[in-house]
């Protein structure tokens, strides 16, 4: 794939990640905890991990967090979303490339959600300089497992359907 085409694919995937997040408004979450989100944008991160190179995956996560921070919640959310997003993308990429014999996409998504939530809590704890926040980890771990399983199931089905359609192979030609 030439560089310009790859940039276009990256832009499209970033747009898709942000748009897909809007679906969270209509999908009921089985965990009634404030702040717990499904993280549907993770579907696009997993698709990028499956079909693109590692630097492209990081660029997608970085630009998505930046654009979402600027457009919605304000730039101050950026340290949280960037740390969580980039760390979880790195871990998911590592597992997908090196340990995929033991992990399905569902499993990778669960690990990604756990890393994402823990990293965000670490940032909050660093900002507040309060270790007491870590008592909240079990709650976040349970929610990460549930949300990770849901997004992982959707990702698994979506990746296999995209694979069947051969979209990325077609673009690469």
């Amino acid at each position: 794939m030439d560089k310009k085409k790859k940039d276009a694919v990256i832009i499209i995937l970033i747009c898709n990640a942000i748009l897909i997040s809007l679906l969270e408004l209509i999908i009921p979450i089985p965990i009634p905890i404030p702040g717990v989100k499904l993280g549907l944008a993770n579907i696009i991160t997993i698709i990028a991990i499956a079909f693109l190179d590692f630097p492209d995956v990081l660029l997608i996560v970085f630009l998505r967090c930046l654009v979402v921070a600027v457009l919605s919640k304000g730039i101050t959310v950026l340290p949280f979303s960037l740390t969580g997003g980039l760390l979880s993308a790195m871990v998911m990429w590592l597992i997908y490339k090196k340990l995929s014999r033991w992990f399905s996409i569902k499993g990778i998504s669960v690990v990604g959600a756990i890393v994402h939530n823990t990293a965000q809590l670490m940032v909050a704890s660093l900002i507040l300089r309060e270790a007491v926040l870590f008592y909240y980890v079990p709650v976040l771990l349970i929610s990460a497992i549930i949300t990770g399983l849901i997004t992982g199931s959707i990702s698994q089905l979506t990746v296999s359907e995209i694979e069947k359609k051969g979209v990325f192979a077609e673009i690469s030609q």
Partner: protein, 247 residues
């Protein structure tokens, strides 16, 4: 995404993006240096005044309080509650935090949070990217393609502006129908959603040529320069008065 920003309402006082950035950073730093409640009260008043002057409203303050509460305060309170519970149940060492100091810190962090939020809520994307392009362009020489990435971010914003309403109508409509279907189990519903998403992603990836054209057309200008006019001078003066009032 932010429903209606102060910019789109066209009610804000226009300030140069560069001056505004510097003032926002200085205001954030000054907030971090606050040591007494009275200083925080002055800052709170100043923030409320500039919120209205920049075309924002109480709803914006409320929204920020809510997101700050969900992201920072709620986990802190839950952590605190759980630590006290564990301490009560297993007689572990008690939490030795200073509640007043933490409360003070929480307010200061919220003010810094709010300043960042207000800055982006009241500043159009174009001058921000032009200013960042100018400030960060030396990084290009180091091999970090800042300009290219800023350009990509601009195209993403433009594309989102065009496609949000279509996505809401088409894809969200289909997903809503899929989730409303009571004859389907949760597995079938997720399968249905995956199919909708796969089709959506596949279709969107057919548009690489148009996006490449967009990237070519969207070039960030590098002609940014500081603009000093009446509003900028008044903003700087108001900040200086605040600093003198506080210290």
């Amino acid at each position: 995404m932010q429903a209606v920003s102060a910019i789109s309402k066209g009610e804000n006082i226009q300030l140069d993006a560069g001056i505004k950035t510097i003032l926002a950073i200085l205001l954030g730093l000054a907030t971090a240096l606050c040591t007494s409640t009275l200083e925080l009260v002055y800052f709170a008043l100043y923030l409320v005044i500039i919120t209205f002057l920049l075309g924002s409203d109480l709803r914006f303050i409320y929204k920020n309080l809510l997101s700050y509460g969900v992201i920072i305060v709620f986990p802190y309170l839950c952590g605190l509650g759980l630590s006290l519970l564990i301490n009560y149940l297993v007689a572990a060492p008690a939490y030795s935090g200073h509640f007043t100091a933490t409360f003070f810190k929480l307010i200061k962090i919220f003010f810094i949070w709010y300043i960042g939020s207000l800055y982006f809520f009241t500043t159009p994307i174009r001058p921000i990217t032009e200013m960042l392009n100018k400030v960060l362009s030396p990084l290009n020489a180091l091999g970090i393609p800042v300009v290219k990435h800023l350009n990509m971010a601009r195209v993403v914003v433009n594309e989102l502006n065009c496609s949000v309403s279509r996505f809401k109508e088409e894809i969200m409509g289909q997903a809503r129908q899929n989730f409303k279907n009571e004859q389907l189990g949760i597995k079938a519903k997720l399968q249905g959603l995956s199919h909708i998403l796969a089709v959506f992603i596949t279709n969107s990836l057919q548009q690489t040529d148009q996006i490449q054209e967009q990237v070519e057309l969207t070039r960030i200008g590098s002609q940014y320069g500081f603009r000093f006019a009446k509003n900028e001078i008044l903003a700087i003066l108001s900040f200086i008065i605040l600093v003198f009032l506080v210290w």
